[in-house]
Structure formats: C-alpha cells, structure tokens
Symmetry: C2
C-alpha cells in the first residue's frame, strides 16, 4: 500500500540515463560517466544500475562496464535472456519494480555520498518489466534525467520527441549527451535548439565501428574509452551535475488525504490528462469565447448535461472557479426571480439557504453566506439572505442518527431519529410521508411564512446538496433538504409574490419550469463522483434549476467551473438590449485547455464506473446504482470506499470522537483530537516510508480518497487512523 | 504578410503521413493508400505529394509510386540531391514552404473532390526545408495526421513519442498504421494502448526483405503491392477517413486584431508554452497552496517582482483572473486603510477612481466601477466610491492633443493642450511644474476636500494606468494620473483621517510605506509589454502599492492573476487570529501549470526585448528605454508598432474618425464607422485568403498586435485599414 517513493537522497546523486532511440549509445555514455566519476571522486563512490536487461544483442552492453570499468559496482535487477515481445515481458507490477530499484538505491545511499547512474532500456517509452512504458513507470522516482540523443540520420527528430515525452511526465532533463557525427551534425543543431531552454548538450567523439570479433571489439573500445578519459566533456557535465544543491531535502511521499482540496480524482500527474492539456494548448491556444465556440467547450457541455440526467438543465455557462460559478448562478437566479415577481433592480433580494453554507471567496459568493467569524471582518461583506437551521446525520457509537439542533426541537416536536445504516437515511421514498417528514414540511412552511410576512424577498434557494463541505463537513439530513426544495417549489410562488404586493407581470416567461424560487445546487465539492454519484442531487431525488460544478471537473490540473441552467433561466436574459445579457465573461472563459482536460477526466471517471473499478467498495446489492433509472421517488443507495466496520469502530472512540460519516470517497470526523490526529498521521506509516498529508477544519478531521485509490491503500489508512485514535 | 492558411477544403480530403522514425515505411503506406483510393474511387481523384525529398538512399522511394501506381499524380516541391546536414538544408522561410504546399493543394482542390496524401520526411521532428522541425512547420496547415508506427525493436517507444509530439501541436491523429512483425508484435501492444483513446491502429504485412538488385527489388515489391490490394486493412482505413463530415467548412485564417481579448503575446499554440504547460501538469498536478509552495509559483513571484522595478512591491498573491485579482487588491487596500484610520468594518468605505474604469465581472470588482448601463441591471451591484472626470489624449487631424471634459474646463481654467508628438505628452519631467500641472493639482485637491467634507471615506486610489481598456479604450492624460497619485499621497492622510473624527490608532503599522491611500494599479490589460513596457506604471513614473497582472501573463493559455503588494499592505493581515488573514483562496490558487506557462511567457518576452525584436518599431533615439534606469522624474519614452504616418493618416479622416492613438502593440479609434469597418475587414485581405477578426466597443474600433507580429504584417494591416477608411 505504500505510495511510490521518490528516489532522491541528500548525498547520493542519482541520475537516470534515457535513450532517444535504441542503439544510441546509452551504455557508452553510462560507462564514460562512471569512469569519469570514479576518476574525479573515487571508484567506491560510483555505482551503475541497469534495472532491466532484455539481452537483445546490441543491448547486452554491460561488458563495457565490466571490462572497461571493472571496479565500479554494476547491477541488474531484472534479466531477460533474449529480446522478447513486450507482452511477454509484462510479468511484474509497477510497484514491485519501483520497490526493487528503491531498495537498491537505498542500500547505496546508506553507504554515504556518491553517484548512482541508472540506465533505462531502449527508448523513453520502451516497456518496463511491468508492461508500462518506462516514461510512465519511472516518473514517480523523480530522478533527474540525462537524455542520450540520437546522432544518426533522423536523430534530431528522435531526440526532440523523446525530450518532449520526458517533459510531459514532468521530468527534469539535466543534460543531453550525444556523439559527434561529421556527416549529420545533429549535435550542432541540438545545441542551438536547446540553448534558449538552458538544457546543455554535451558531445563526445563517435565510438569506433563495431567489430564482429569480440576481442578486437574489446581492444578498440578499450582504446576509445582511454581517449575519452582525457576528454573534458563528461568531466564538465559531472561538475555541473555536482553543483546541484547538496542539502536538498529528502522527498517524502505522503498520502494526500484531502484529495488536494477535493480537486483530485485521477491522481497527480495523470499522463492522459497532461496529454489532453498539451493537445488543447497546441490546437487552440486562446479562443475568445464571446460569439465564438470551440469543440472542447461544446463537447464538455454536452457531456455534463447528458450525465446529470436532469431534464431541466439545458444550458452551460463557463467561468474560472467555483466562486465565480456561484456568482454566475446567483446572478441567473436573481434575474429570473426579479422578472417573474416584478421587482425592481433596487429591491433588496436575498437568497434562502442553510446555516453554515459556503460558496467561495469572491464578494458575491461571500454575500451568499451568513455572517460569521471568517467574513465579518471583510470590509465589503454584507450577507444577503436568510439561513435556516437543519438536522444533521452522524454515526455515533455504532449508531446512525439524525440530530435535530436544539433551536428546532420544540418546533419540530422531536429530538431526532436512529437508523440501522446510512443507506436507510437515504431511502427517501420510505421516509417521505413519515411523521418526521410532516414535521419538516410544517416547520419549513412556518419559517417561510414568517419570512414572507416580514417582507423578505428571495431570489433563490441555494444549497450544497448532502454535504456542506467547506465550513464543517456537515452531512445534512437528505430528507430535510429534499423537503425544503419541495416546499419552496410548491408554496414559494404564492408566499413571495404575495409579499411583494406586485402582481405577476404579463411578460413573465411563459414556459418557465421553475416554480417558487429557482433552486441552485452548488455541487462544486460534492459532485462528479465525490459522494459516489455523478451528481449529488440524485441522492436527494431532486432536479435543481441551476447546478454548479468545479474542483474534480479538471482532475486537479487547472481552474474551470461550469454553471448549468434550465432553459427558462436562460430565457430571463434573452433581449435585444445587450445590457440585459448575463455580462459575466473572464478573459479565459471556457479556455480550451481546461475544457479538454475536463472532458478526458469525466470520460475516465465514467469509464471507471461502468467497468466496475469501484465495485469493491459496494455490497453486492449496491452494484451499479448509477445504471438504474433514477426517478424522484426511487431510493438512492449510498456506498463508500471507507468500510462500515471502520466507521463503526471510529464512532465508538467515544472519548475523542463526537461524530463520523463516510460517503463515496469522502469522510468526516468531529473530534476533540482533530489537530492531534493530524500531527500523528504526519509522522508516518508503519515503516516510516510515507506519511499522510491531511487538513483540519476547526475540530473536524476529514479524509478524502481519490477516485483511483485502491482497496489496499484505503484499508491501510483505516488501520493507521484507528490505531492513532486508540493509542 | 498572409497568415499561414489551413490546408482544408470541402471536397478534397487531405491527409498528412508522418513517420515515428526514419525507415518505418511511410512511402509504402502512402503508395498502398493511394492505390486503394484509386481502386475504390478513381485514379484521377487521387494525388500524392512529397513536399521535400532529401534523396537519402533509403528515402528515395518515390519510384514505389511511379512504378507501382503510375497513374497517380505524384509531385515533389523541394528536391535535395543527397542527404545533407540539417543546417545546410535551411534555405527557405517557413511561410514560403507553406505557401508552396498550399498552392499545390489548392490546384488539386480546384479539380473537384478527391484525395491528397502528403508525405513528410523522416520523423515528426525532422527538419523541413526552412530548418524548422516539421511538427512545428506544418502545424498551421491543420491537416489530419496519419502516423506510421515503428514495427522494429524499440518501435513502441518511437511510436508513442512521435504520437505525443504531434498531440502537443494540437494535431488530430486519425489513425496509426504499421507493419505486422511476428517477433516484436508492436502492433498488438499499440492496438491495446490506443484503444481507450479511440485512435485506430491499422496493420499490413511486412514488405519483403530489401533486395540490392533494383529489378529484383521492383519485382518483389510489385508482388507485395499486389498481395496488399486484396488486404482489407487499408480499405477499411479509407472508408473511415471518408466518413469525416464532408460539409466541413473551409477554415479561413484571420488576423486576430484584438489579440484574443488582449491575452495574446506569443501567438496561438506557441510550442514553448505548450511544453511548459505539459511539464508542469506532469510534474506537479495539483498543489494545495494553503501552507505549501512550489517552484513555479515561487520563481514567477520573483520574476514579477524583479521586472516591475518597483521597490515598494514585495509580496505576490495569486488568484484565477483579473477580476478576482482586483477583488484581492481591493480587500488588501480596504483593510490597510481601515486599520490605519481606525474605521470599523461596518463603516462605509469606497474607492477613489476615474470615470469609466472597469475591473471585472465578479460582484466585488463590479462595485469598483460607477453605475452605468452595463451594471445597473445586475441585482446585487452597488457602486462603492467616487469616480473623477479626467483629461484624455488623442490624435486628431495629425495633431496630438489633451482634451479636457466640458465639466472640468471651468474649474481647470483651460480647454486642453496640443503636442508635437505622443512622446511629448509623456515627458512628465518637462510637464511637471507647468501651468496645467498646477491646475490639475489644485483641481484634484479641491475635489478631495469636497469629498472629505461630505464625510466620504476611501480605502484605495484605484487606476488603470495610461489606458482605460474595457470601457472605451481611453488614453488618459498621464500627467493627470500622475498628479492624482501625488496629491492623494501627499494630502490624503490629512484629508481622510481628519474627516473620520478618529485619531490614528497607536498600533498602526510603524514602517508603512503607503501614504494617503493605498494606490492600486490594475495592469491586467495594460501591463506586460502591451503598451511597450513591462509595467505601464513606468510610463507615469509612479510606484503603486498594489499592482494587478493577468491576461498576457499566461500568453493566452490559461487563467492566472498575480496581485503584487508592498510589505506594509501585507503587514495589515499579520495576526495570530486566523480570521484576520486575507482568506481568499480558490481551489486552484497558483496552480503550477499556469505559473510555469507564465514564467516561460515572461522569459520569452524579456528575451525578445533584450535581443531587440521590437527595435523596428522604435526610432533610433528610442532604443531600449527599458534598459535605462527609471527614476520618478525621468521622461518615459513611448513607442508603438503602429507607425506615426499611419496614425496621422487615420486621424485625418475627419468625417469618420474622431480620435486615434497608438502605443506599444495596441491602438484605438473613436469612429462613427466602427461597426462598418469591422464588417469591411471581416471580408478579407488583398487576395481574399485571410480576414481580420476585430472587436468593437461601442463606437470604438481597436486593433492589437501580438508581441510577435512582424513589421510586414503590421504595415499590411495599416494599408488595409487606411483603404477601408478612405473608400
């Protein structure tokens, strides 16, 4: 379960030698570098590692090292007798290969300062022993790269392409090395080419023609290496490599337990997303989105609308982040409501929401939240709206329960409910019609009547469905949120249009499908499979009129937000007068790079869902609920990567844990020991080889897996946390 | 001067055949495709083009086509006798090579529907006849790619690397074709590898061993092609290629005259920026910027601070776009002013600014602008501040003049000034001390006294230096902006602290370097060489306390904004209480991809400046003003890519042009014919082969070159515009 570790040490200088092609002289450069290092430092301090040798005739070059640098430690970890087809070679797991190499390097590092040169096989994308292209396989090692260029005909192309493939993986290419060739002079071109990017190109003379007679070949190569020993080029390269800061901290792998601010779904540095970004950057650059469109934006809009399965949503508005996306949503709803109810632009209109909600840090998004410690000091902040108390869900001492806030208990006439499982909490079809449901309905209606009677005007009902993320990771009772939407839709129109003393204007949109108030769901945090569903709204059986999506949308690469809206919301901005339009456009609105990355990211998550990648986290009865037709009254089923045993166990640490929940890939713990736990986990796993980076919100400790975190890792984390809590 | 044109036609299906390596069989695949197309359509409809033949022994394959497909049109445009070193080959300009190929393809297209297969030379990055790697050279053609994979040992690596280099240029790879090889089975691996991305892999049997005897070789290849003619693979490929929508519109190149909403500096799809983006995506993915840092963000902050040459600026705050960056700037200034002057968070504090300024579309940024047609209808908009009238600069009938708005003429006691050149307008060292300067000073002081006496409180002076971009492209009199800053700094403290009836609190920051009010410069549009200088502030000889940068920052690739601030502004948020911090953080704050792209973009523009890339646009006396020490009283010199002859000429079209100006790469025209002009330019250049995409703001027509637009293109545009205006 250990995350792949970087192969960097404070004193051991490790470099990886990559080839632009097969047969470009990797081993000759490796041998020359080792000999130069042995000469200038000492042979005990130098080691050579060829992790994989496939034994292809012209690759079986380790005799160079054995015969021409016999003093130097020289190892191979995976040996194949003959060159074979790549499928046949795929006999190890990526993690096993990396672990082998790491152990080897760690043993060298234990010997003290020195040099280790690791030679790859073939070209940059030649397959490793796991069947994964080396460029992907070795990327987590974070070992600086030395690229051997191709000095032959066509070699410029091979060198540039190999360089780009390494850069695409975030590899730091420290130098390019290649043979001088008087006919093609590739080295001259490459020196010019790489000069602006500061990548030095080192050259040495070409080796002698290959000799079929072994002894003659040995003699001529011996003479060649001897001549090279007085060549300055490799010495200069070594001296430059030696200049890298020697007090560089060890890299320590850490499990990213907040899924990098909840943006992460497909792991850091996913090469598919990187290539999608690179493609769109090369293909489109900037597209001015005012009166233009491009394929990635169009395709992404289609993909979002299709996957939401919300028949109301028909339009997509792009902006740069969740905060701006929520401002757009607010502008949409306020305009639609104002036109419907005939208010003037100067009328004070707020939003109806839940206490503790959060929508971002721009002024408009801040104003959607009630006053509190984090916004009251901000000079232009003015909370605009009303925020209701609401029941919450937690697991406590093995029992799932709905807690009613004290302030509501009298009005609701009840103090909460208990459930067998979280699943039952979400069986809204069974809970609708219950006494609790009726109590919720009555309470909400009374609240709205009270607000209306005081002249409050509202332009939207704005909710984070299921989980209120940023403030306290609160799991709301889904029945309450559902009931709130239902009551606003059935009674809002009557309540709020009456209270305005205005009659409906004649030109109100005729085919409006929103009623009461436009319903905005901010799914920035909870959407896109974070809670196990493409849309968290499906857990409530509710179709919002406006839905906001960001974070996981671009899989952690770059900012993008999509605000989805219904046709009737869109219609509120239709006019011949430009000043009636929704004039919200950032310079990079719908930039093609993020749109392309988002498309790739959604496709990959959808693929994972349909191919059952998360089925280990579901009980048999819960397989593929997404594939079943969702309708308003069907009970949504919930699942989580965090096991129910673990949730039960944690919920029983009564002294320190007040509440716990887990849903999809996320979980939260209200604990008196949140900060302690964070410190404890930072200090590392079983063998100290990795740690967990976590975030704490007040007294809430939370953990987020990515959509790709595997079962073994999740179970390992559960163990680590349980131990930390029980110690 | 024609921009490179896409080589796409409605009926002619053009494909470009790329090689993963030299000697992978490009010509064999081309011949096979041509023969298959001839068989299934008709030989007149098929053509083969090898733009460049270097005559290298194993590349001289056009006899395949001549002898095995003799009916098919077969051309070469650039012929080299022998394979030569790449430096020797660089004997044409990129544009000449593309024009040759386009003419050829256009002739084919004129013949009606059909197929044209264009074969590249060597690998994807092998050099074209201009010395530019083909992948970059041919990218503007936008011809769909067919990639010939490498079936030999190491060929998987070469194929994947070539594929990635094509994708990095935004190439659409329609299919991969390669030989079946029973030993290495690369095709099997590649079929699996590309299956998820939907790129089909087509294979045909390996050709016979090469025969040194020409006639025998001819015979055996003839037999091979005959066998292939009954092979389904290439026919299937053709059928799929034929499925591409046939009513695809012709692509029409257009000069992007608004520099893509002013974001563009280094041209669309710049491969250096693309590679920087790809590197950072692969290297970092997402980094949670709360209590973390990464190299690109740190290096970018350093680069910005260094190049600004503003000794006040010491801190950098990242957000996602100019609008959020201006909100951050506003939050910074308001807090600093409130603490200094002892106001409470509930005090009504506005900003002092100029009429017609614009800072973005989020609510907080909107509130920085005065009420007007575009924001008054937005429900939560409330302009917060006071906006002053100000003198503007324009060229009219060949004369540069400063115009005083009517409302100010009496108070200023003057109606404007005229100047020999725009240079003189910017010689602030000479203008300071003049009667106009004194009049400006007195007027501004009276205005501030009036505002203070009415109890107005201000938290910032916020300006777009030199040009007010978004509203009307107004060139402000730099002397007025300079004087405004000077007066606020010298008198603001006394005026506004008195008016609050508060004494300064004892704990006000002791080493504050701002005085009067924090000065914010919004350089989102005008900064980063848009007006010829790294910072537009240097044209005013003023050092703001807060400076906002975006747009050109990332060269058109993706959103990023940097808000720079002084140490004393930063100090206003230092506290042990978290709620005192500047709590503004988007999920993707300082995302490494944009930071890396911005770094590369700034480096490239700095390189262009120091290597004199823009010197053609400067008169001899104006060379390298950036390299001279800037101090407050030194006259800044201005330059523009738009010639003074052109500006004069346009300014004399009195009937239709009210005003014109040009500075750096931008220019604006106040015209009664703006929309007409836009239409006229959209209809095309001299030969109809390209058009200009322009933007109009009300009655203002504006043109923006990129930092890379060359002299010939600018002069060509000038001619086109002048003709359109005079016709």
């Amino acid at each position: 379960m250990n995350p792949p570790a970087a192969h960097l040490w404070r004193h051991l200088r490790v470099f990886q030698i990559w080839g632009s092609n097969t047969d470009v002289g990797k081993t000759i450069f490796a041998t020359t570098l080792c000999k130069a290092a042995a000469k200038h430092y000492s042979h005990e301090k130098v080691a050579f590692l060829k992790p994989v040798s496939t034994g292809a005739p012209h690759e079986a070059d380790s005799w160079h090292m054995r015969s021409d640098a016999p003093d130097i430690a020289n190892d191979t970890l995976f040996q194949y007798e003959v060159a074979c087809s790549p499928h046949a070679a795929a006999s190890y797991r990526d993690s096993a290969v990396l672990a082998e190499i790491r152990s080897h390097a760690a043993r060298r590092a234990a010997l003290g300062s020195g040099w280790l040169f690791i030679e790859t096989a073939g070209g940059v994308h030649s397959l490793g022993p796991s069947g994964t292209p080396q460029a992907d396989l070795y990327a987590p090692m974070r070992v600086p790269a030395l690229l051997v260029g191709d000095s032959k005909l066509g070699g410029i192309s091979q060198t540039l392409a190999a360089y780009e493939s390494l850069k695409l993986r975030g590899q730091d290419v420290e130098a390019i090395m290649l043979f001088q060739d008087a006919q093609y002079e590739n080295h001259l071109y490459l020196q010019d080419y790489f000069q602006p990017s500061g990548v030095p190109v080192y050259t040495i003379p070409k080796p002698p023609q290959r000799n079929t007679d072994d002894r003659a070949e040995h003699r001529s190569m011996g003479a060649y290496y001897k001549r090279l020993s007085s060549d300055d080029s490799m010495r200069d390269l070594l001296a430059n490599l030696d200049k890298r800061p020697s007090d560089e901290a060890l890299l320590q792998p850490a499990f990213d337990r907040s899924a990098s601010w909840w943006t992460q779904g497909l792991d850091h540095g996913n090469p598919k997303l990187t290539l999608a970004a690179a493609y769109a950057a090369g293909r489109y650059g900037h597209v001015m989105f005012a009166s233009s469109v491009h394929e990635p934006a169009l395709a992404l809009a289609g993909t979002l609308l299709e996957n939401m399965r919300n028949p109301r949503l028909a339009r997509v508005f792009y902006s740069d982040n969740g905060s701006t996306g929520c401002e757009v949503a607010t502008k949409m709803a306020l305009r639609a409501a104002r036109l419907r109810y005939g208010w003037s632009a100067n009328d004070k209109v707020g939003i109806l929401a839940l206490r503790g909600s959060y929508h971002g840090d721009t002024m408009g998004a801040m104003d959607c939240s009630e006053p509190g410690v984090f916004n009251e000091k901000v000079e232009w902040y003015t909370g605009k709206g009303h925020w209701l108390d609401f029941p919450t869900v937690r697991c406590h001492e093995g029992q799932w329960q709905v807690d009613i806030p004290k302030a509501l208990q009298a009005d609701l006439g009840c103090g909460g409910e208990t459930f067998e499982s979280l699943d039952e909490v979400f069986r809204l079809d069974e809970r609708i019609g219950s006494a609790t449901h009726k109590a919720y309905e009555d309470h909400i209606l009374r609240e709205l009547q009270r607000l209306a009677s005081r002249g409050h005007k509202f332009g939207a009902l704005m909710l984070e469905p299921v989980v209120l993320g940023a403030r306290w990771m609160i799991l709301a009772d889904p029945l309450f949120q559902r009931t709130l939407v239902d009551v606003v839709r059935s009674s809002g129109s009557q309540l709020f249009s009456t209270s305005t003393q205005h009659s409906l204007p004649d030109d109100s949109p005729s085919n409006a499908d929103w009623s009461g108030l436009p319903v905005i769901f901010d799914e920035v945090f909870v959407g896109l499979y974070r809670l196990g569903r493409f849309s968290a709204a499906s857990l409530l059986g509710v179709h919002p009129d406006i839905s906001v999506h960001a974070k996981l949308l671009t899989g952690g690469l770059m900012p993008l937000c999509a605000t989805l809206a219904s046709e009737s919301i869109f219609a509120a901005f239709e006019s011949d007068d430009k000043s009636d339009a929704l004039l919200h456009g950032h310079s990079y609105t719908a930039h093609p790079v993020s749109c392309q990355v988002a498309l790739e990211s959604l496709r990959e998550m959808n693929r994972m869902r349909t191919s059952g990648d998360w089925s280990w986290a579901r009980r048999p009865s819960q397989q593929e609920p997404e594939q079943r037709q969702q309708c308003a009254n069907e009970a949504p089923l919930v699942w989580s990567v965090w096991s129910s045993d673990f949730v039960n166990q944690v919920s029983c640490v009564a002294a320190r844990i007040e509440a716990v929940w887990a849903l999809g890939t996320g979980s939260g713990y209200k604990s008196t020991a949140a900060a302690d736990l964070q410190t404890r986990l930072r200090s590392g796993g079983d063998d100290g080889s990795w740690t967990a980076h976590t975030r704490v919100l007040g007294n809430v400790f939370y953990i987020m897996a990515s959509q790709k975190t595997d079962k073994a890792t999740v179970r390992g984390l559960e163990k680590l946390i349980a131990e930390a809590l029980l110690e």
